[in-house]
Symmetry: D2
Subunit: 435 residues, 4 copies
């Protein structure tokens, strides 16, 4: 299987983390999936992803002290494979795992994804559980020094044959459930035994091979960032998407910073390989973090985010609680031309310029008939951004051949082609020029 075929355009869906943290329950997943099927599916939104610690009991009960309770009780089978906590995912009782939930999501015409931490549960190592299909036990493949900085559940695996067997057994199980997407954490940028941060290369390779063996085209997403540029070729070889930053939230500093990341990673974008700007913290978010709120992004910033993610071909995953989506947010995430730009993998895309005050990205279709120009205003106030015809000419854009200009977000034609365009504070003008 060519993993680049698993996702020929940037994956698009919803993820439970931004609203629920580690505490989402089955009914909430179903409700969000239903909303997606009814309102978003037609725009290409299709993945429903259950994020971190679906296997843990008591999540969220000590939220003031811990995001992840250390040494907590987890649901696990005899081979050290985590199962959904039946208190939170009732359909999983009787060892059925996520199969019933995945089946329901599929019945809605959608795809089903889950989050995992790399490695094997610490408690499996303490209990010396058997690795399926091998004569070894968990304490032998677990590396006692390979622990995650921020989550206490797992040990990373040694680079040995039975570790591959463990991952094989995992993906075999998930494939049997019908999982379409795996977001693996503490693996893209992770602390090594040496104290250095790096990609956990041997575990990424094992996951890749386990997916190849399982026979199901499971999209592999690597977390957390910042991904390491020197591992760009490596990620491209083994995964479908990798995170450019740590957790992305609703503040301008992080959004502004994403421009540097997109610039650096632009050369790595291709079909099946997506540098990932992380979830979109839109609508209602933060409940599981005890900070329930409407996104702090202004309307202008939301458009800036949608435009940047789209023009750079980032995956798009909604963080909002879908059942509470307001009209403005719904319009924002269903703007067809913006979403089409996100999927237009054959376009030529480049950042034309960036300075302290503004950035300009362009995306041109293969024939050159349509030229998109996104002009971003970094200032804290409205500003005029000049169309840099000289820079376009340097890139062989014969600007004089374009005679019509349309504002994409406003969906209106601009009578004559001006030299400068006004953009709100932290906002964007996304223009389509046509020959």
């Amino acid at each position: 299987m060519n993993k680049n075929k698993f996702a020929v355009t940037p994956p698009r869906g919803w993820n439970s983390f931004d609203y629920y943290d580690a505490n989402v329950r089955e009914q909430e997943i179903r409700a969000n999936a239903e909303y997606m099927a009814d309102n978003l599916k037609q725009y290409g939104w299709e993945y429903v992803v259950v994020d971190i610690q679906w296997y843990a009991y008591d999540t969220g009960t000590q939220r003031e002290k811990y995001e992840y309770i250390p040494f907590s009780r987890v649901e696990m089978d005899e081979y050290g494979r985590l199962l959904p906590c039946p208190e939170r995912f009732p359909s999983s009782v009787g060892g059925r795992g996520f199969a019933p939930l995945a089946e329901y999501v599929h019945s809605l015409g959608l795809k089903f994804g889950i989050h995992i931490m790399r490695g094997i549960p610490r408690t499996a190592a303490e209990r010396h559980l058997q690795i399926k299909g091998t004569a070894r036990t968990a304490d032998e493949i677990a590396d006692p020094g390979s622990v995650c900085l921020w989550n206490p559940d797992m040990y990373g695996l040694r680079d040995m044959e039975e570790s591959q067997s463990y991952y094989d057994s995992l993906m075999e199980l998930y494939a049997s459930w019908g999982v379409d997407f795996v977001k693996c954490d503490d693996i893209c940028n992770s602390r090594m035994l040496s104290g250095k941060s790096d990609a956990q290369q041997s575990e990424i390779r094992m996951l890749y091979h386990a997916i190849q063996k399982c026979g199901r085209p499971i999209v592999l997403s690597l977390s957390p960032g910042p991904a390491l540029l020197e591992r760009g070729s490596f990620y491209s070889e083994y995964a479908n998407m990798w995170r450019l930053t740590g957790d992305f939230w609703d503040n301008w500093t992080q959004l502004r910073d994403m421009f540097e990341r997109c610039e650096k990673w632009a050369s790595y974008v291709k079909k099946g390989c997506y540098p990932d700007c992380d979830m979109l913290p839109l609508g209602w978010i933060g409940k599981g973090f005890l900070e329930e709120r409407k996104t702090r992004f202004t309307q202008a910033e939301q458009k800036t985010m949608m435009t940047l993610w789209s023009i750079c071909h980032s995956p798009l995953f909604l963080g909002a609680e879908l059942t509470r989506l307001d009209k403005e947010t719904l319009e924002l995430i269903t703007q067809q031309e913006v979403l089409a730009l996100n999927s237009a993998m054959d376009n030529e895309v480049l950042q034309l310029m960036k300075n302290e005050d503004e950035a300009i990205w362009v995306s041109r279709n293969p024939g050159g008939q349509k030229l998109y120009v996104a002009m971003f205003n970094f200032k804290n106030q409205t500003a005029n951004i000049i169309l840099p015809k000289g820079l376009l000419a340097d890139k062989d854009v014969q600007f004089e051949t374009y005679h019509r200009v349309t504002d994409v977000w406003d969906d209106c034609e601009i009578p004559e082609v001006p030299d400068a365009y006004m953009a709100e504070a932290h906002g964007v003008r996304l223009l389509r020029f046509e020959q």
Copy 2:
């Protein structure tokens, strides 16, 4: 001008450094140019580049102590612009600079290039020389803390308007001489005031703009490496080629190491943007370094080098003294199909695998009719390398559709398609598969 049009395939030529160090003289340049015109031009070799310190007197006279004599006498005009040392470049007398030499090179149907150090001569700063077209003097634009670690001639320039004027005046002069190629040093990876190493971004930008203004499509080559991956987009924006390593010489360790670099930089290769594996230390080299020798590379290593440079679209610059070229080296650098691979910018190129023992790169033409597979053997002994059909299938290469296989270096068809291919120690098998 679109700088990517200045060199739509990787530049190919000769450079004086590997044989002459800083000591080349006009007659030697002419002799090498003549050899190129007579024997190599038809294969696409066209640039003749005078490397470092053509402006200095006494180069090479204290070779045991210094590569570059500190505080040495240099030839310079009233605006602090370096001129060829007339003792070594007689045609430059009377302020004619490199114009006569460039004219001669052009008359042979070739192109002419020079090396420069970023910045302004230290002695120009001490003498407070005027910056052409401005009211400022050299001491005002020279940054006294911006010195090169390894060459004592220059001060880097402050980021100010008159520094741009200085670079403008330089490129105006070089364009008037007929220079087609500038290799600028201490700029791609250079020590900053902070002690950190980085690209000298403001000076690269100034050079770019100076070239744009001068009206001549001068190819801009940045040195030395290792180029910084996080500046990949930046180099792509402003230059045509940038060095992946420090000076590359004729030893297996450096050659073996180049595979890591090529892998990392593969995403940045495109028309007009060439990650540069550095000069080819073939034939007779080392004279100026008091180590005159025939290259220490074995025949097998030479083919490995030519194959890697070519399949990765690196620029190709010969380090050999051309007038002493032997038959084997001549054949090596005029293998038409290998050179065609180097220029085939529309091919899809990727490293299929790499481990401690071997690497495999493939290059496929747009229609897919021709598939090149380069199998590199890193071992110190002959080895069989297995054609990894599974990996090719992962990349959607329908291997069963290819029925003919040819050994490119041996130029002979292989009767039936074997599963494994024998390669010499440090050697390569370059195969062409055809549908």
Copy 3:
């Protein structure tokens, strides 16, 4: 209690590690203690220290794979305090811990010490054991991200009140056993959550306070090195000795390197505060490491080591199996004047010079009547070392007032005071000058 009074001269004794690794048994401890009482006690050797993993079952049974078996069975009480493994320490049965063994050691006129790892057993955290005297459990004070790089047994403790209670309960137990010396590991230079290496300051402070509370003057030794110079004042405040290097073994490279360390740490030596050059790998060592051997140090190197450790006031701990001690080694470690130098805390000590070939240290008694000069030869061959009278004069040593010179190791007077002294390869001349 003033911890500097716990050890007013550098501690001197024997440690089980160099010969037994983690596998020492009670009978072996007793045998070594008996040898010490009979042969070494009169020279000031007094501590008998049981090194790492005395609480673990199965130590040494998988020596080819692990030095420390991960997730192995350990002996532990209901409060998560480790106890001696009764299979290896029979007198500890019935919860008596090390009390019987300590009592026996004391009966010989010696002192008893143990090794501990900082933190609480991982299995105590998994099992949520209670912390003595508190309402909290081990999972609450264990920091799941604070693991040792090289030993899998423990979790470090969070900086909280109940962590202090845990250490208090430990020292209370050890004091009740009669422990005189605690060597705590993974604490002097240890990896932090941040990936940085540093002293585990909060746990060192807690140990200090626990010792103060326990009422017994337990000497606190911190391991491993290299200790961090910027923590020099901190170590001095809370501990009695701290290691200057990682594990020190019998090779010249490490011995040679110790000179740099001693130089750097000389300013921190004072009564109760001893930069620690680590155990002396003399005699028979290495058995537990499956490398049983007589020390690889030459006689000359052994004297160099003894001289350096002594003149710099390092603690002296023998690594040799005492019951197999040969005559030469016994003489080496019972040279009375060298040992007296080690204890002479009122002497003025300084490194007079050091270069690639030699180093000279001097130690002068308060009245100045006796001047010791240690001349170390770093060369691989015999060399003459010149007595640097000028440097002595720079330090106000009126050299002309010294009229007698004695070779300390040879114990013979040298007829007239020569200007230069011959020293063997890697050897030393230790001279006593008298007024």
Copy 4:
């Protein structure tokens, strides 16, 4: 000569930098010296130091652009030795250098010091000036890559015999002028060719030897900091004082930070070896920096500074313009008991505790009859600081034997010994306890 005898107590004097920057003139030096002779000499203040760039013309004329004008005109002899600029130091005309000024300072019963930059003037290298007493020229000993980050005047020297000759010729000249104190800059913590920061060890050694040869006991002060702890032994060997920080100015953040430095460096303080907290920015300062002002330190902070510098045995150099000294400042710097504490090199000194809110240092005379306790309040408001009797007991201070307590700054006895003492925001209580 034993350099530790050159200054058996911390040097104490005045330095031109804080008030005049690089622009001081002879008359101003004389005026300050006269003030010192009349008012401060009796309290041990004795050095008068001319700080940076006394050799340069035009200093201060472009203050908005540069602190140090690059490539400026300097006064220099035929051997590349800098001389006082005669426009600013009229008595130096006719090649007399600083001899007349030093003679005047000496006539007042004071000592004379100068600042130098390490290395040789850049212009001497460009002009190939001869090195006195050798056949070599400045371009041969100057290292073109060894430049100061912040001052453009000099090149560092290569580690070669003629570099020693240059420094010898310098110290010979300065000794002939009567210089008593040399503050050498860009040498204590300086950028190396490698980009790393370190002490310029070879140049420090050369300066030391040059001073030894010159026959005059010139105190050697190294600048700038932060000095490197791992070079502590090295500085102690070759210099008399070394700076703990970069330039110290009149703000609380820097003053607060000095406590960490003093703690770290306490082990290195001894007669002739003084970790240096830098000049005291008291009174009127800042004129040369175009920020003329009275110190921004509050009275409380000024006492904190004087107490910390004194109890830690830091050198004391006044930054104030002495001729404008007010009564309060004069009292502050002439408090006899505080100054005596500064000179009491036989006292036992230690930091008793330090946390976020407070620090306590103690200094006890050899017999123990007098115990000084300095209690520093880091808070932004008045606070009560408890006398930590337990910690004192840990240090074997029998506190019950002290019956009288005096407030040193207030010079009044406190009737009964309280348990806590009130200190102002950022202030100190300095107490003397007597048996």
